[in-house]
């Protein structure tokens, strides 16, 4: 496997969306290739970072009240 092949699927690899056979190939390449190993770590860290920083915003209570009220009126 070439690094270019690895780069094209690294996100999907991290998603766990590649076939088992493919995952083994990617894992093998990663073990032998320092650059691709680092690349994988960076992608993973960046994704975790984004997820953490974009913490879910809960719906405000007044919206929940309003929704339930409007649904009951709509009935």
């Amino acid at each position: 496997m070439l690094c270019d092949d690895y780069k094209r699927v690294v996100y999907f690899f991290l998603d766990g969306s590649v076939s088992q056979r493919r995952a083994v190939e990617l894992e093998t390449h990663r073990r032998d290739c320092h650059d691709c190993d680092e690349r994988t770590l960076v992608h993973r860290k960046l994704r975790d970072f984004v997820k953490k920083r974009l913490a879910p915003i809960s719906a405000p209570e007044h919206l929940k009240v309003r929704l339930v009220q409007s649904l009951r009126i709509a009935e």
């Binding site: 780069k7 094209r8 699927v9 996100y11 999907f12 998603d15 969306s17 590649v18 076939s19 493919r22 650059d35 680092e38 690349r39 770590l41 960076v42 992608h43 860290k45 960046l46 994704r47 970072f49 984004v50 997820k51 953490k52 920083r53 974009l54 879910p56 915003i57 809960s58 719906a59 405000p60 919206l63 929940k64 309003r66 929704l67 339930v68 409007s70 649904l71 009951r72 709509a74 009935e75």
Partner: protein
């Protein structure tokens, strides 16, 4: 025998019970889509009322959360079309080119300390800004996949597009987001790396650049500025189909071959 009124009441109660648990999720995405709480609240309310109205159309046994998100997406597009907002535009070839150099150069810095956050001092606002800098279609798939945790197949259902398109947008969207974050990080000195200025070009610059490319007869990824804004933002984008063969295995799993 139930009266018609009692039946309707039951259905309403049923809907409320089924739909209210998703209000936080929907609001969160609505907020990221509209970028302000007032519009997000209106969008969620409109979504719930529409979903209630069409509740009998919902197919039992299919994904209710994805169905709600789909209604919200459609509602947003309709409202968006009315407002005719200007979409963000970005040159993909530009991103693609320098991204590899940037990530290669900064990798050791970024992974040195496994316990720390990558850019300790980067503000949440910067991350939000980076996300908002993505074209709408790319922002949506990143949000739905990485924040809401939907599968490719669910996202394809919500956005009414093929799974290959979801993957293609995810690939590009994530890359653009990472690239923008790395640009910010370097600009504010959180990571070292040579000064390679952030090249998120303005729409005007981009159109200029595109014309130049066209004269040389080269192909470009940039969408036609002549297209109407809605088309640019919500285009099915056949040309961006991801080149991997996507193989469906089991129900929810997609395999990249």
């Amino acid at each position: 025998m139930k009266t018609a009124e009692a039946y309707e009441h039951e259905q309403g109660w049923d809907f409320e019970k089924a739909a209210m648990p998703y209000v936080d999720s929907l609001y969160n995405t609505a907020y990221r889509m509209t970028r302000n709480s007032e519009d997000a609240e209106d969008l969620v309310q409109e979504t719930y009322l529409k979903a209630y109205k069409y509740y009998d159309k919902f197919e039992e046994g299919t994904n209710f959360k994805a169905w709600l998100f789909k209604i919200m997406k459609n509602t947003f597009i309709n409202n968006y079309r009315k407002k005719k907002l200007t979409p963000h535009k970005i040159d993909f070839s530009e991103i693609e080119e320098s991204y590899e150099r940037v990530i290669q150069k900064n990798a050791p810095d970024l992974i040195r300390d496994p316990e720390s956050e990558i850019f300790q001092d980067m503000m949440d606002a910067d991350v939000k800004r980076a996300l908002d800098s993505l074209p709408h279609d790319y922002k949506m798939v990143v949000l739905l996949a990485d924040i809401e945790g939907f599968s490719y197949k669910e996202i394809a259902e919500i956005l009414d597009c093929p799974v290959g398109t979801v993957m293609s947008r995810l690939y590009r969207g994530r890359k653009m987001l990472e690239r923008t974050l790395l640009d910010y990080a370097r600009k504010y000195g959180y990571i070292r790396g040579e000064a390679e200025p952030a090249k998120m070009r303005s729409r005007k610059d981009e159109v200029k650049g595109r014309k130049k490319k066209d004269e040389k007869g080269e192909e470009t990824d940039v969408q036609e500025p002549e297209e109407s804004e809605e088309e640019v933002l919500f285009a099915e984008a056949e040309d961006e189909e991801f080149e991997f063969e996507v193989e469906e295995q089991e129900e929810e799993r997609f395999e990249v071959e």
